[in-house]
Each structure stands twice: as C-alpha cells, then as structure tokens.
C-alpha cells in the first residue's frame, strides 16, 4: 500500500514515515502544498495523509484538486486545528476520515487499513492472523473452524489488535479507539480491562492460546509469531 504523507512538521513527518515503513507501507513525504501537488500529479498512491495547515496553502485545496481529477485515492485528514467546520467541510469534500492531532500511530494504522479495505477491497476481505480469521464486512470471526461470538466492541478491539499486532497498544489508545471522544475524561482503564478480559476468555474458549500479552506499566500487545 502506497501512502503520501503531506505534513510540514519535519520531525513528525519523519516519525510517521518511519512508523508506516515498519508497518510495511510504501511511504513518501511532501512537506508543503506545492510538492504535494507535484507528487500527486506525477505518481499513483493508494492513500494520502493530509495536514490542513501548510505553509504555502490549505490542505482542503489539495483535497478539492484530487476530487476534481476524479482520483480514487483515499484521503485521511490529519489536522490540529480541531475546527469543527474543517472536519465537516473535509468530509463533505470527500475525505474518507478525519484524525485530529495528537494521535496514536496505532490508530492511524487502523484508520488507513480501514480506508484500504473500503476502497480497494470493497469490504470483501478476510484478515488472517495465525489461526484467527476475521471477515471485516460480516463481522465473522473464526478460530480455526470455531465461530466466535463477539460483541461489537470486542470485535473492534480484536481487529485493532490484529492490525497492530506485535505492537504495544496503550490503554489510552484502546479506549480512544473504542469510544472515541466520549472517553475524554472518564476513567477508561477499567473499561478497557474488562473488554480485554472478556475477549481473552472467548479466544481461549475457542481454542486459541492467549495472544494478548499484558505489558506491565504500558499496555497490551497482541503477540503473533511470524
């Protein structure tokens, strides 16, 4: 999957670049409006991560340009302005998703994968991870041949884990992934803990090993031996 990151903060762009490469994406960085337009005009990407505030232009104009060129590229807006108008306008202009800064890399990864599934696979894909298989459209989960009955949140949690396998997921990022803005100021960790407990139990009952490793002090990791 080929991604263009349009971000003017050099360090952050490098960070995202490094992270996405680790995750197996092919990634390029454009640091301003003009180089972004040049790259988008010259190369094909599967998705573009778009910062709205650029030193020489507005990210929304890039989005407009993409849409007027009938591009099939997925667009994820990444903005710190947190201005509701921007979010609404961006989504109305045809962006696939909106993520406000600061964000968790694992969340960025999950959103990019979701865009990819929706656009390229039209939702028809089976995600296979050791002996667990997930159909993201029908929400069907199997461990080996055993069907797993999961609640919606447990399903989302499992998908989030598998997309970010072998990575530390902080409780905060899990809580924000599951409950979005609502979790803001709630003591979310108990809730995360309960969901993980239930998911673990169901996975083990279906015959899986316990793949969720508790990282003392930091969070959880979904272990998959490659």
């Amino acid at each position: 999957m080929k991604i263009l990151v349009v971000e003017d903060h050099e360090e952050l762009a490098q960070n995202v670049h490094a992270y996405l490469e680790q995750e197996g994406y092919v990634c390029e960085v454009a640091e301003n409006y003009h180089s972004a337009l040049n790259k988008l005009g010259g190369f094909e990407y599967d998705a573009v991560i778009l910062d709205l505030m650029l030193p020489d232009g507005n990210g929304l104009d890039i989005l407009k340009w993409l849409k007027s060129n009938q591009s099939d590229m997925g667009v994820l807006i990444l903005s710190a302005k947190n201005a509701l108008n921007d979010k609404v306008e961006g989504l109305e202009l045809g962006a696939d998703d909106y993520l406000s800064k600061p964000f968790h890399f694992t969340e960025l990864n999950a959103r990019l994968k979701a865009i990819y599934r929706r656009r390229k696979l039209k939702g028809h894909d089976i995600i296979q991870c050791s002996n667990i298989s997930i159909n993201s459209e029908t929400m069907e989960v199997k461990v080996g041949e055993n069907l797993l009955e999961l609640t919606r949140k447990e399903f989302e949690l499992l998908l989030y884990f598998i997309i970010n396998k072998n990575r530390v997921l902080t409780k905060q990022s899990i809580a924000e992934h599951l409950w979005g803005d609502y979790i803001d100021s709630l003591d979310s960790f108990d809730f995360v803990y309960q969901h993980i407990k239930n998911l673990r139990k169901k996975l083990m009952q279906a015959g899986s090993d316990d793949p969720i490793q508790t990282m003392y002090g930091s969070g959880y990791k979904f272990m998959v031996s490659e």
Binding site: L12, V168, W179, S185, L186, F191, M215, S218
Partner: protein, 419 residues
C-alpha cells in the same frame, strides 16, 4: 422618551417662561406709550380749556364733562402741569375706571384758575386683556410649529441616525464586515459614523487576530505534541525497554496527553467566548440527549450505574447543534466520572429544562465555584476542571440558566431553557 420629544418639551417649557416675561414687558411698554399719549391729549385739552376760560371768565366753579375750572380768590403763582391717577365713574361703562388726571394753576386774562382735567383713552384691563390674548395665541402657534418640526425632524433629520442604529444592531463579527461610513451631511452624524467605522474596523481586526491566534496556537501546540507522543509510542515498542522505563514513558505520555486535552479545551472555550458557534437553529433536544445516552450506555453499564430516563419527546430549543452535543456529552461524562459503583444517574428533559442528577461524594469546592476554570473536584482523577466552565459558557451564549447543588448524596445540575 425620544430625544426629539425631550427637546420639544424643554423648548416649550423655556419659551413659556420667555412668554410670561415678554408679556410683562409688552404690557409695560404699551402702558407707558398709552399714558404718554394720554398726557399729550390732556395737554391739548388744556389749551382748549384755557381758551374757553378766556372767553367766559367764570366767577364760580365751572364743571363740564371731565373738566373742572375753579377761579382762585387771590393772585398766586402759576404751577407746573402735574399728572396723577384717579378713579372716576366711567360715563358709558357705568363703573369706576382708573383715569389720568391733569392739574395746573394758570393765569388767564389776569386771573388765576385751578384747572383739572381727566380722561381715559384705553382702559388698563383692556391692555392686560389684549396682551394676554395675543401672547396666548402666539404661544399656541409656536407650540404647533415646534411639534410639527419635531415630527419632521424625527422623520427626516434623524433618518441617518436611525440608519446607523440599524447598522450597529445588525453588525456581526462573524460576517467580517466593519460598518462602512455613510455621508449624511450632518456634522454630528458624520462624526459618529466615522467613529463607528474606525471602531468596528479595529474590533474586526482584533477579533480576526484572536481567532487566527487561537487556531494557530492549537496547531503550533498540537503538532509538536503529536510528534512527542509518536516518538514515545515508538519507544514503547523497543523490546529492550524494561518495565520500569516503560512506566516512565507512560507517565510522560500521560502528561503530554493532558497538555493536549487542556489546549483543546481552552481552544474550545475561546471559540465559544468568541461566539464562533453562532449557528443557532431549532434543535430537538430530546433526541440529542437520547442519542448521547445511547452512546454512553456501555460506559454506564461497565460501572454498574443505573440510568433513569425521563425524557419528554421532541422538546425544541434554539441553540447551536455542536454546542448542544458538547454540553450534553460533558454533563454525561461528568455524571459517570464523579459517580460511584452501583450508583444512579437520573436524567430529565422537558419544556422547562434539562436536569441531570448523579450519586457521588460531596464536592470539595464551594458549589458556586465549580463553574470556574481549573476549579477541579479532588475526587476526579483527571479532567482539567474545564468541563463545567465549558458547559457554563455554552449556557451563557445560548441564553440558558444553569444551577448546581448537592443534596441527599446527589449532585444535581439543572439547566433552565429561558425562552
């Protein structure tokens, strides 16, 4: 009272005083002129009487109409003419009337006579009468004219002023247009309009700068924070990291997240204060609350809290939909956060307002200060103490009243829709 009415009233009151003084002056001038005329007339009659005395040379007192001639027994000196006022029966009016009297001693054909004449041309009350009548008529005429002028001034002279007032009333910072100066041809209004243009241009620039600043501040702050958080999360994935070290990284992450949340909350407060959410429209408040409760249901269940809903359907309020969601979400997450296990949350929506109660420990701060910034309740672990100030600010800009109290082990927040 309208300025023009005030002005007219003052004008009429003052001119009433002027008219009273004017009447007295007019009366006195007229009276002086009339008595001069009277004296001149009497002097003419005196010449006539002297001629008559010369002809007749009377030996006894001669009394004719308004003339009395008395021969003096011995020779004496002639005197100056003297005038005095006297009251005499008026021949035609048949009542006592003040008259002017002339007295003099004259030598006619070697004999001395005391001559007295009296007469009246215009009676005193006739003068008073005519002065009063003419003054009242003139005053009525003036009143009519001034009132007419008032109506005219209200309609035409104050037109540019009313126009300016309308412009001020419709002035909207969000529209980004200062009030443009209009030439009226009246010095005062032109100065007012010029001042308004300068002032609104200044306000507009300040407002835009502030808006831009808060957006930039958010961007400039959140981007480095995103960078720092990203780096720390990458660090967490380092397999060589010991548990103790990752705890420190987590601590740093926590603090960074708090700064970020605080920046967002302050940014939001500034935006609400700047009235950037001005999209007021009728909104089904019941639906908004129900939707929020459904979203929170899972979190409520996870804490084993009992939720009681008493929601009258389709309660309509006029407010910005984004602000409504922020307000309801803030109140609900507060009610969950400051609750206890197996606690209760009661929600009620009806035409008069929105009430949310929850069980929980009594607040450590004074109830009134809970709406202040950074006045956080010590029972809550996180939260910047901005949640309730945001709710308060939203109520302020939406024209609602908010009240908080704690009784019977319950926090009770009441928002009254002032319509």
């Amino acid at each position: 009272m309208k300025l023009i009415y005030k002005y007219t009233l003052w004008y009429l009151l003052i001119s009433l005083g002027v008219f009273v003084v004017g009447s007295i002056i007019t009366y006195q001038v007229m009276k002086r002129e009339i008595s001069r005329e009277q004296e001149r007339f009497l002097r003419e009659r005196l010449t006539f009487v002297e001629r008559m005395v010369d002809r007749r040379q009377p030996d006894s007192v001669l009394v004719r109409d308004k003339i009395r001639v008395e021969p003096l027994p011995q020779a004496t000196a002639e005197t100056e003419i003297s005038y005095s006022d006297t009251v005499v029966m008026h021949s035609t009016l048949e009542r006592m009337e003040p008259h002017t009297k002339l007295e003099v001693v004259r030598e006619v054909a070697g004999k001395f006579y005391h001559i007295s004449l009296y007469d009246v041309i215009v009676e005193q009350d006739d003068i008073i009468e005519s002065v009063r009548e003419s003054m009242i008529k003139v005053y009525l005429l003036l009143t009519g004219t001034v009132l007419l002028l008032g109506v005219f001034a209200g309609l035409y002279l104050f037109k540019p002023f009313n126009k300016t007032l309308n412009l001020i009333r419709n002035f909207d910072l969000d529209r980004g247009q200062p009030i443009r100066q209009i030439k009226t041809g009246t010095q005062e209004f032109d100065r007012l309009n010029q001042f308004l243009e300068e002032m609104t241009t200044k306000v507009q620039t300040d407002y835009n700068a502030l808006k831009e600043f808060s957006e930039n501040a958010s961007h400039e702050m959140q981007t480095p924070l995103a960078n720092a958080i990203g780096k720390l999360e990458l660090l967490l994935n380092n397999p060589k990291l010991e548990a103790k070290e990752s705890q420190k990284v987590m601590g740093a992450l926590d603090s960074l997240r708090q700064i970020s949340k605080m920046g967002q909350s302050l940014g939001l407060l500034t935006k609400i204060e700047n009235r950037e959410f001005a999209n007021k429209a009728p909104l089904d408040f019941s639906t908004s609350v129900t939707r929020a409760l459904d979203n929170f249901q899972e979190l409520i269940d996870l804490k084993s809290i009992t939720l009681e809903r008493s929601i009258t359907p389709h309660v309509e309020v006029i407010m910005d939909p984004n602000l409504a969601d922020i307000m309801i979400n803030n109140l609900l997450s507060n009610a969950i956060r400051h609750n206890e296990r197996n606690g209760i949350i009661r929600t009620k929506v009806d035409e008069s307002g929105f009430i949310i109660c929850n069980t929980g420990k009594p607040p450590s701060a004074a109830p009134d200060s809970l709406f202040d910034r950074f006045k956080k309740d010590s029972n809550g672990r996180d939260g910047m103490g901005l949640g309730l100030s945001i709710v308060k600010k939203i109520c302020d800009v939406s024209g609602f009243k908010i009240d908080y109290w704690y009784e019977l082990n319950e926090h009770r927040l009441e928002i009254e829709f002032v319509r």
